[in-house]
Amino acid sequence: MLPSARSSGQISRLRHLAGQFQERFHQTHHHASHWLGQRSLSVPDLRRKSQQALMATSLAGSMMIAQGGSSVDSQLAEQVQALEADSKDNLLGTITKDEHQAIIEKMIGMVTRPAGHLDKQDELYLEQQLTDMLDFPVAAELEGQRLNHSVGIMGGEQHLRRFPSDTLDQHDAYQEAGLAPDRGAYGWFTEQGELTGSAIQREKYYFAVQTLYLSNWNRDHLHLKEWYKWRKMIVINPHDRTAVVGVVGDAGPALWVNKQFGGSPEVIREGAIWSKQARGRVLLLFVDDPQDKIPLGVIKLDYDQLTKLPTGSQK
């Protein structure tokens, strides 16, 4: 093999490995990933920013930092003290554990109602509470678009083919769910023919929604199809205190199925949508994320996990 071909293979494999490390971090530490995403930062950006700051300092300052000089140690201690005080203030300013429990119970009450929408007052309450709880805006209606249901039953879907020659064994999880024979209603998941990391994530965390039953579908389907394609949404399973952020990736289910939403194998399993207590009953809302900062995947709604990253101290 020519040296250049060999090195390009090595770099390509190294890029793949770096991508795996990155994906694993984002999958396992969703809250940290979300915190970084909100600031348009990645983990390596933290290092790069630090390097730039170091290079900007004087040689004397750099030496002191590099050697862990006492003035730097005291700066660190002061910052820790301020952050911990700030964190306590923020926790006091946000909802208490009892209030959080009350919101979860209210949502459990909501998902046991017949499929449809909440009344306006409950809907506003839910949107406000979830937006505070999750730290990003969620809404039953976005840019004038509203599905026929925000409360309903979510059924399990199969994997979708991401590109024409995709096969079940190329999907890395939940192969027992099978592979739908046709492509999804919004086409292939690939981007310009390439199976990118975000394309893989979109298929992993997709929802099927009943756009075909919207009253204006026949008239406005060209615009609606464009608007709903990969539209970010969140399913809330209050019984199991779990939510999953995903995208609209298919149309359905059919009316006769008596379910209002569909979820990918990852959504159904990781969101515990068909747990003994949930039995498919969920809330499905839009995520207002025009800059695509909210990562797809599972969010635990337990109080202890949600209150650790208060938004108030964002720099």
Partner: protein, 113 residues
């Protein structure tokens, strides 16, 4: 613990965990590639190490302190004081990070073979 002061003041190594990295091994990995490709390789190697270290820290650090750690990282990812702070809050974190860094370097070695 492996301390390699001769290599530790390079700007690309301005990371809070620098005292537990054997930088000569990183240099050896990077030097396998042609000169013009080394900057990208070094960046990819550092990205792997950053993610591996951060995954371990978030796994072990009490969730009450995640936010503090993130803000500290945002301001002083280069500061070895951050490792000292982690040592105060996580038992044996230095040796755990050391073995994770070693494992990561072995994985990198394998893909660069």
């Amino acid at each position: 613990m492996i301390v390699n002061h001769a290599h530790s003041h390079h700007p690309s190594r301005a990371v809070f965990y620098r005292s537990i990295v054997d930088w000569s091994r990183v240099d050896a990995m990077v030097s396998r590639l042609p000169l013009d490709q080394r900057p990208e390789v070094l960046e990819l190697v550092m990205s792997c190490l950053d993610h591996a270290v951060m995954e371990c820290v978030f796994h072990r650090l009490d969730v009450d302190r995640h936010h503090t750690f993130l803000v500290l990282c945002q301001d002083r990812y280069h500061d070895e004081g951050l490792l000292e702070w982690l040592k105060q809050h996580i038992d044996d974190i230095e040796s755990e990070l050391s073995s994770i860094i070693d494992r990561t370097k072995t994985q990198i070695d394998q893909v660069l073979e």
